[in-house]
């Protein structure tokens, strides 16, 4: 136990872990050139291990390295270090970094990210994930078209290489079997010149496409089977860009099944009243773009301006002015405005940790600098005395 304590408290482990994080950051950056940011994040930073093409782990991933680094910081930087006045700066720095790493962990585990895209006059009370998918099911005869059953991304995105998963719910009169999740594909009428990925259903098949560098550009697809209580099977392709959900009839009830990006509810509704884009005079370079929105909560309506560097923080969500469109030169509108929406419990924590770390750094290095100047002055005085 003592050995383990020493190991986790050691400078050696700190150096190794920092070197690992350095290597991950360096290669994760270079990897983005050919594979895009999302793929790099998934492979290098949001992983426990980096794997070879054959699936063998060969290097610790970002999660593992940062977890160990946090333990190393706690054990070595807080517990083992002597709590003395002269170490106050270093202790504070370590506290600040631990707090920052924890805020990163909280965000990683507990945040939701997406976008809200509105034309002027449009409103919405939900935002859509950039990356995650869900399969939603609802009975078409229902007055409201709200999904009644939702299968989340984590139960879909691993269904590759022939893997299948069955879903059944208490009030659902059928079993839904999903398989062959494709990250990027196109649903097309099957022709002689291309090989469909998986089964061809009703003359349509999935053309598998290479993943785009920008993950948001990928369009996922799935094979679905509905099996009723009598074992009768109905099959379909679910494609994230299809115009209408798959309508399936079981026991005289009609159900809609749809694959789409995950939608997150918001505690209020946002209406885009006006979008404005100001260019630098005589150029087409945007100087500012801003959205005049109304936040609607019940009968309470509040006008709010969202613009670059000035997001809306309300109800546990942060809405940022992300982009706009169409961006065709000379186009005068109507525009749509895109807001990035984030639900992040640790939203402001990194900022707090910044001030803690800075205070610690100034304390630690300021003290070192003053000592150095004092020693140099003493050295010079001594040398002058010897000369005299």
């Amino acid at each position: 136990m003592q050995k383990l304590y020493r190991l986790f408290a050691s400078y050696g482990l700190a150096c190794v872990l920092l070197l690992c994080l350095f290597a991950l950051t360096l290669f994760g950056t270079l990897y983005q050139v050919d594979h895009g940011l999302y793929a790099a994040k998934q492979r290098f930073f949001n992983s426990w291990f980096l794997h070879t093409d054959s699936g063998l782990p060969f290097f610790p991933g970002g999660i593992l390295v940062m977890s160990l680094l946090t333990i190393n910081l706690i054990v070595g930087g807080l517990m083992r270090i002597q709590w003395r006045k002269r170490n106050a700066g270093v202790l504070i720095i370590h506290l600040g970094i631990i707090f920052m790493l924890i805020s990163g962990l909280v965000k990683f585990v507990n945040s939701e990210e997406g976008h809200l895209t509105l034309y002027e006059g449009q409103q919405s009370d939900q935002f859509i994930s950039y990356h995650l998918y869900e399969v939603s099911i609802w009975e078409i005869s229902q007055a409201s078209q709200v999904p009644q059953w939702i299968i989340p991304d984590e139960l879909l995105s691993d269904l590759a290489h022939g893997k299948k998963r069955s879903f059944h719910a208490k009030d659902l009169p059928f079993t839904l079997v999903l398989s062959d999740f494709l990250v990027n594909c196109k649903a097309l009428p099957k022709g002689p010149n291309w090989q469909a990925e998986g089964e061809v259903i009703d003359g349509y098949g999935f053309l598998k496409l290479p993943p785009e560098k920008e993950n948001e550009m990928n369009v996922a697809g799935l094979h679905a089977e509905v099996i009723d209580a009598n074992g009768h099977v109905q099959k379909a392709l679910l494609w994230a860009r299809q115009q209408a959900p798959w309508a399936v009839e079981v026991d005289g009830h009609r159900f809609a099944i749809e694959l789409a990006h995950t939608a997150y509810p918001m505690p209020y509704t946002i209406r885009l009243d006006k979008f404005t884009k100001d260019d630098h005079p005589g150029t087409m370079m945007a100087k500012a773009y801003k959205s005049q929105v109304t936040r609607i909560h019940g009968s309470d309506e509040k006008p709010i301006l969202i613009q670059m560097n000035e997001p809306l923080r309300e109800g546990g969500l942060v809405l940022f002015q992300a982009s706009y469109g169409p961006s065709t030169p000379g186009y005068q509108g109507p525009f749509f405005s895109v807001f990035s929406v984030v639900r992040n419990p640790s939203d402001k924590w990194p900022e707090y940790s910044l001030w803690v770390i800075t205070f610690g750094l100034v304390l630690a290095f300021g003290r070192t600098l003053l000592n150095f100047i004092r020693r140099q002055n003493q050295r010079r005085s001594k040398a002058a005395g010897e000369q005299a």
Binding site: L30, N309, F372
Partner: protein, 654 residues
Amino acid sequence: MNFSSPLRLFAALALGMALANSSFAQQKNTHAPWSDEVVELFSTLPVQDGGRIKPMDSYAGLHLLTLNGKRTLKLDDGTKLDQNRWLLDVFFFPEIARDYPCFRVQNDGVLITMGLEAKAKRAWYSYNELIPGRDKLEEAASRAAQIEKIKRDSLDIQILKLAEDLHTFEALSSLLSLSRQDYSTDADPALVEIFGPKQAGLAWMLPKQAALQELARTNTDADSATYKAVRNLFSELDNALTTGFRAVALFPPADNADGQRDDTWWRPYDVLVQAFTTDRDMSTQIELLATLEKLDQQKNQPDAFLATLRDFHNRVVGMAEARGEYGHIPLEVKLYRWNLFTNSLVFYLLAFLIATFSFLLPNKAWLRYGTAGATILALGLAATGIVLRCIIRERPPVVTLYDTILFITSVVVLAALFMEWITRQRIGLFIAAFLGAAGMFLAGKYELKEVASSGDTMASVVAVLDTNYYLAIHVTTVAMGYAGGLLASAIAHVWIFGKLFGIRKGDKAFYKGISRMVYGTVCFSLLFALFGTIMGGVWANDSWGRFWGWDPKENGALLICLWMLIILHARLGGYIRERGLANLAIIGGMVVSASWWGVNLLNVGLHSYGFTSGVALTLFIMWGIEALVLALSAIDAMRNQPRPSRGANPEQSA
């Protein structure tokens, strides 16, 4: 003279024509030199370019720098033209300016592509020399434009540049193209009734455009002569609009019809378009256009030209002042005239020279004071330039990549001088002079690149950067972190080369002192890099909705922080000593250069406003040299490693 035979008559006529041609040619290629008063007035004219109001002096200088690689132009006869005289010629004597060798072609492959003969590997050409190869150049440029930016080779880049440069020159010389056209205002009695006797230029026609439009509306008989004449005149005006749309905007605009202020200044092109399409009161702008046309007509009458230019200058400046847009113009003219950064480089070089002598003559205190004096003067000049740029732009010191060079160089020099003040070992002084000169040289080189790519070194910023708070705090502190890393690396070089060449051999205190300097500078770098990096995350959290996104620029800053932390922890853990610290500090310098420049070459990520190109080779050379230094250090370490003797503790003897 006896013209008794037809042959002699023909010979005499031919001689006469040749003489006439020669005299015409002489007339074509010369004009009275522009007086200093004309140049002064011209250079301080405000114009709008790249989204900001700048003096004509800057506009001329930046364009000549783009085409020619310098702010002055050397003609074939050895005469030197400054940027303002060159642009005056381009505006008013374009037929002469087309013979000026103002296009620098850095790759003779471009000339071969154009089917032209290269003068030399790197040479200057005139517009008229290049025009025969224009079609081939455009074809090659359109092919090069299809290639992904990161995959373009040097020839592609040069082809695209020269094609763009020719367009730029044509845009510059098109200022008065609309006014120099011949408009058939006398082709029909109905037109004569509207316009009266035909005059030169365009401005005189514009107040009468309503009557012309009315005539066009009422005259619908397609077979009538009036209909055809009106149609022809509109066609001439329409054709005129195909030129001049890239000319400089030098007229403050009229307010909108509803009285709202318009921020976009006008070119002569806009005056024509606005006159025909809006109800604005634009009599002042038409008068300005008339004055500009008058200047063109008086270009061979120096006194009249000066008087008219003064009138034009006073009107435009008065309008700009009334709009609150002239305030920084005189300051910007001074910034470039004082040549602060070039002069700073000169003084850094002088300081470096004196510093080198001071090492040869260590007992001469005046050499040390001389080095310090020249360095402080150079730093003062550079700092003045940086401050002036801040005032002109109303922005913090670091906005563009060019700014980073000026700022980082100054911080490095200041930190090295501070170190010298503490240690008094002349190492800080020597490094300050060396890095100051290197930094200002690099700034001069990169200025060219930045001007060629964005047209300015004080260009307008993209929407996300439009926040002085974060620019002031995040960007400057990260840049200070870079400065610390580079300074630590430079001091580490002193340690390694000192050991390598056996300087002050056996003086352990000397080398320990240098190590302390390296350590202190690494701490300085970490302090600012860490603060700046986290502050960048806080900014990203407000702009893009996430604190950390593993974007290349963010990762570059993180790499510096991680490396500095590795150095400190390795030293605290006893894994490195003096040499190890020096070696790692040199790698730290490489990491800084990768973060500062390398990630901008990747062309991926959200920091697209910082992307650059064409510096990869310099970067690789620098890394190659540093790798060599590290290899030499390793060889030196092996050479001086004491042989372990029985019973000796290798840890102690290392």
